[in-house]
């Protein structure tokens, strides 16, 4: 069996995860693991799972955003970020996955490949560039 890309595998697994029975799903996963081992592509597993999650979210109209900040977010801040993202992405539901990075000053929001960089570092870099022109 030829090896398919992670994207192709994830797209083909999606309908199965939504409509297939438990037995069917387990059978497919066994074949998938066997093929990944055979083609020495086990390192792709994480990517396949991540893509599967992305496609499932797309189908349900859910957007996941990874928010990194130097301190825990308050309820007000969480609401502000959610409202901000509602203006940027089309989604029925926005899920914020927060993480704390004590060394960072400010906020970053990652939605798929889009990064909103609101850190102090990026603002200072921008100011430096402006002062140098």
């Amino acid at each position: 069996m030829p090896y398919f890309s992670s994207t192709t595998i994830a797209k083909n697994l999606l309908p199965l995860t939504q409509k297939g029975s438990r037995q069917e799903i387990e059978a497919v996963i066994e074949v998938l693991m066997k093929e990944l081992r055979r083609h020495k592509k086990m390192d792709q597993l994480e990517r396949i799972v991540s893509l599967l999650q992305t496609y499932a979210d797309e189908k349900e109209g859910t957007v996941r955003a990874r928010v990194s900040s130097d301190a825990a977010l308050s309820n007000t801040q969480t609401k502000q970020i959610t409202d901000f993202l509602k203006g940027k992405v089309r989604a029925k539901k926005i899920i914020l996955e927060t993480m704390i990075d004590a060394e960072q000053r400010g906020l970053t929001i990652q939605v798929n490949d889009d990064l909103y960089d609101l850190t102090l570092k990026s603002q200072l870099e921008k100011l430096t560039k402006q002062l140098n022109t």
Partner: protein, 499 residues
């Protein structure tokens, strides 16, 4: 002063807006030799520049379903799996302008010569479509190399592509450098692109150009042997982009690509790492396109498009004289002629070691001044006949008069066409010397003294006694009765002075 500084700072900070733009990002998944695989970058374009976390820059070359292949301009040591990669939204381009004249830069436009920072606001893309058919006109203006053998038998015109091909150490770069030196006061901007060459060689070359005053109108683009394949890959395109800026201003440009064999090897290396299918000699299938799209950008534009030109002198190194190998045949079929250098001729003392039989210029006489054209017409035929008969020279007295004459003529022509490095001749000097040869003025000069005679004649021509004839030749650029009379008098006067 303090108030001015304060005021200036206030103005700049007042303009500052605390906003942000969304960055398109990806993540490093694999680092190989000069190539990085990135996941994400969902909207990246082909040939777009991307930035890594350590500040290094790369260019997207492979767009695959799962990941993007990026060639890296810089060190891969600080790049780790999982690091962020950001799209810039710009295709690869470099700064161009008059500021580059006299400078040594890398293919990204960064100075390598410890001079001032290059301040230019104009950027040209490295990859660009060649001028179309309707924007061009025929090559009709001569580009003098200052090398007798080339200007007489393989003349080059502005807007032509003429390949210089030969084994290692046959004088390929020497021809290119002499051509650059001869462009002094000719209104031609020169660009020397060094691809994968030793940096000591480039340093020596720059020093020679500086001594001859050629750096004032020359730009040197260096992708050294110690730099990655990515630099070697984009170096010729970068040089061409710089040339296009000047061509668009209506100026004439000469670009030397030294050499395209190393360019093909660098591209092969990157393609194999990117897992592109290998073809003949393991080169990727589009290796012809690699060079054709580069060399097609050399052109002579018509007046409606500014009338500028780019003349390209690509260099190809052959192995054991094999010009039928893959890359040499590719480039021969793209260019408008080739100058073929042979090791055999080189070691026999014939320098430049040009094989007149295999060398050709498809532009030919339309790129030659009339003065040189009229006196070099028989030269190729004489040399061709001499080559056929050369083996009989050992028979000496057993040959008939006609054969002996042909051999004599060929030997004299061969000796006369020898020329020292860094000694390019002007059009008038070449015409004078070739006139003397083709009209029998050298028939009574001993063969061993041809070189000495030539040097003496040129010195005599430069003195007050030769001023009138040379000035006439320079202004008329043709053999009118007046010019012929003056030149013949000059040669005869010189001959009398040496007897």
């Amino acid at each position: 002063m303090d108030n001015y500084l304060l005021q200036s700072l206030k103005e700049k900070t007042a303009e500052f807006k605390r906003d942000f733009a969304v960055q398109k990002t990806g993540r490093v998944v694999q680092v190989m030799d000069g190539v990085v695989k990135v996941q994400g970058l969902s909207e990246v374009m082909n040939s777009e520049m991307v930035e890594f976390e350590n500040g290094e820059v790369g260019m997207v070359l492979n767009l695959e379903e799962d990941e993007v292949g990026v060639i890296l301009f810089g060190e891969a040591q600080d790049i780790k799996e999982g690091q962020k990669v950001v799209q810039t939204g710009r295709v690869l381009s470099l700064p161009v302008g008059d500021d580059l004249l006299g400078r040594i830069i890398d293919p990204l436009g960064r100075p390598l010569d410890e001079g001032k920072a290059i301040k230019t606001k104009v950027y040209y893309p490295i990859e660009k479509n060649a001028p179309g058919v309707m924007a061009r006109e025929g090559v009709h203006q001569s580009l003098q190399t200052g090398i007798k053998a080339i200007d007489a038998m393989v003349p080059i015109g502005r807007g032509q592509r003429e390949l210089i091909i030969g084994d290692r150490q046959t004088g390929k770069t020497a021809i290119a450098i002499d051509t650059i030196i001869n462009q002094k006061d000719q209104d031609v901007i020169c660009i020397y692109v060094s691809i994968g060459q030793k940096e000591s060689k480039v340093a020596r070359l720059v020093e020679n150009l500086r001594e001859c005053g050629a750096m004032d109108y020359t730009i040197v683009v260096v992708a050294g042997a110690s730099q990655g394949a990515a630099y070697s890959y984009i170096a010729p395109y970068a040089g061409c982009a710089i040339g296009e800026y000047f061509m668009d201003q209506g100026k004439d440009v000469l670009i030397i690509y030294d050499d395209l064999s190393k360019h093909a090897v660098a591209y092969r290396q990157m393609s194999l790492i990117l897992r592109r299918p290998p073809g003949r000699e393991a080169y990727p299938g589009d290796v012809f396109y690699l060079h054709s799209r580069l060399l097609e950008r050399a052109a002579k534009l018509n007046k409606a498009h500014g009338g500028g030109s780019i003349t390209a002198l690509p260099i190809i190194e052959t192995q054991a004289g094999d010009s039928s190998a893959y890359i040499p045949t590719n480039v021969i079929s793209i260019t408008d002629g080739q100058i073929y250098l042979e090791s055999d001729l080189f070691y026999r003392g014939h320098r430049p070691a040009i094989n007149a039989g295999l060398s050709v210029s498809r532009v030919g006489g339309s790129a030659q001044t009339k003065a040189v054209k009229k006196v070099s017409g028989r030269l190729r035929i004489d040399l061709a006949q001499f080559r056929e008969l050369e083996a009989f020279t050992q028979f000496g007295s057993d040959l008939d008069n006609k054969t002996r004459e042909q051999i004599e003529r060929g030997q004299r022509a061969t000796l006369l066409l020898r020329q020292k490095q860094y000694s390019p001749l002007s059009m008038e000097q070449e015409a004078l010397v070739l006139y003397a040869l083709s009209n029998g003025f050298l028939d009574d000069v001993e063969k061993e003294k041809i070189g000495e005679f030539e040097q003496g004649l040129l010195r005599f021509a430069q003195s007050k006694k030769g001023e009138k004839a040379m000035s006439l030749l320079s202004s008329e650029k043709d053999w009118t009765k007046e010019v012929v009379k003056a030149v013949e008098k000059l040669i005869n006067d010189y001959k009398k002075s040496v007897i």
